[in-house]
């Protein structure tokens, strides 16, 4: 079954090193749609990434820096990228070798389609 986000998610997963991408509700961390490689713990990634993005967004706002649009977390075993708007967060989880610049551009481009 396809959703309004299926095509966008499929284009993201085709990027080198991307293990999965999903559209998540920021407020509760529930997956709305996803495209994941086997073995990716989608629910956990979704909940944690949404929570991280929410924290960054609220912190940035409280600090007077405006709205957070894109976030990237880097760790030895992978990266988590998140871009959000209107309670929806587009999350991508990728290997360390992934080209984060490309992923960022694709995610920001996809943000335009991120409305329910």
């Amino acid at each position: 079954m396809s959703s309004p986000f299926s095509e966008m998610l499929a284009s993201l997963i085709r990027q080198r090193g991307v293990l999965g991408s999903m559209v998540v509700s920021e407020s509760d961390g529930i997956i709305i749609d996803s495209n994941l490689q086997i073995g990716v713990r989608g629910q956990a990634v979704a909940a944690l990434a949404a929570s991280l993005f929410r924290k960054a967004r609220l912190s940035a706002r409280a600090a007077g820096l405006g709205e957070a649009a894109f976030l990237q977390l880097e760790a030895p075993n992978g990266r988590v990228c998140a871009a959000g708007r209107d309670d929806l967060v587009l999350v991508t989880v990728a290997e360390s070798r992934a080209n984060v610049g490309l992923i960022r551009v694709e995610m920001l481009k996809a943000m335009g389609a991120l409305t329910l």
Partner: protein
Amino acid sequence: MSTPGSDDIRRWSEELARDPSSFVFLQLGEALRRRGQSDLALKVALRGLERHSHNADAHDLLARIAADRKELERAFDEWDMVMRLQPGHPGALKGMGFVRFQERRFEEAERYLAAASEADPTDGRIKFALAMVREELATRDSAVGTRHPAGETEGIVPTPAAPAAEPPVGAAAAAAEPAPSAESRAPSPGFSDARTLFHDVVSHGQSAMLLDANGFVLAGSYTDRQGADLSEEIGANLSGVSDEANRAVRHLQLGDWSSIVFETDAATVAMTPLPGGGLALVAADRATPQGFVRRLLERVGERARKWAEGQP
């Protein structure tokens, strides 16, 4: 220090299963602690202590785990036991100094840290922590009436050894005490240096700060376009992001996070963790290229580490 990987943990677990009396529980417990798996680390340490109840390092491990779990009294008691078994143990002295610092018992903290520094003069973090305690003691009287009210700081929980943190003493521990604002502190050359620590690294439209584990500013500053100093607000608000990041990488088993970058309407903010739970943070206006912000973060992180270690 490199972080042991899953293979190491598996190997140590297997070795311990084969030989429950093996001392490998020390490495295994510490590795689990550094990965933030404090429940497991606690089990390993307690089982090890059942067989090696007079081993100072085993009690030291249990103390570190207790400190991670914010069980400060238990941590202190364990370090006290370490001192009984091995008088002058630098790790125990550091730890006890840390606990007393968290309890705002600065005189005692100074005594322990001074002894730790004597026991291990090469440890820059002890020196730094000691300097911070002494500065706190020196300025405490003069700052009375201008510091944050006590109630304002209640509930601030020390985070001595968040996942993968170094032993719970050092820059973060030293500065975990809510620092008075810049204006309220007695001026000192060291403090002035701290404010300008990154001045030769950042340029117009960029700011850099060093935060302690509680989000208090240790060095650097953040000023907006109008020149207003927003360091405290930025530090307090953004440091919470790192807690969330710790949680995420722990659950997703990504290893210790090395950087977070986020873009807002006004700025690109990048942060990197420092030993002891501190944070180096860079903010640059949106015109600054992303790649440059990352380079800037590396340089600021390096400078912050050196400064925290007491190196010029």
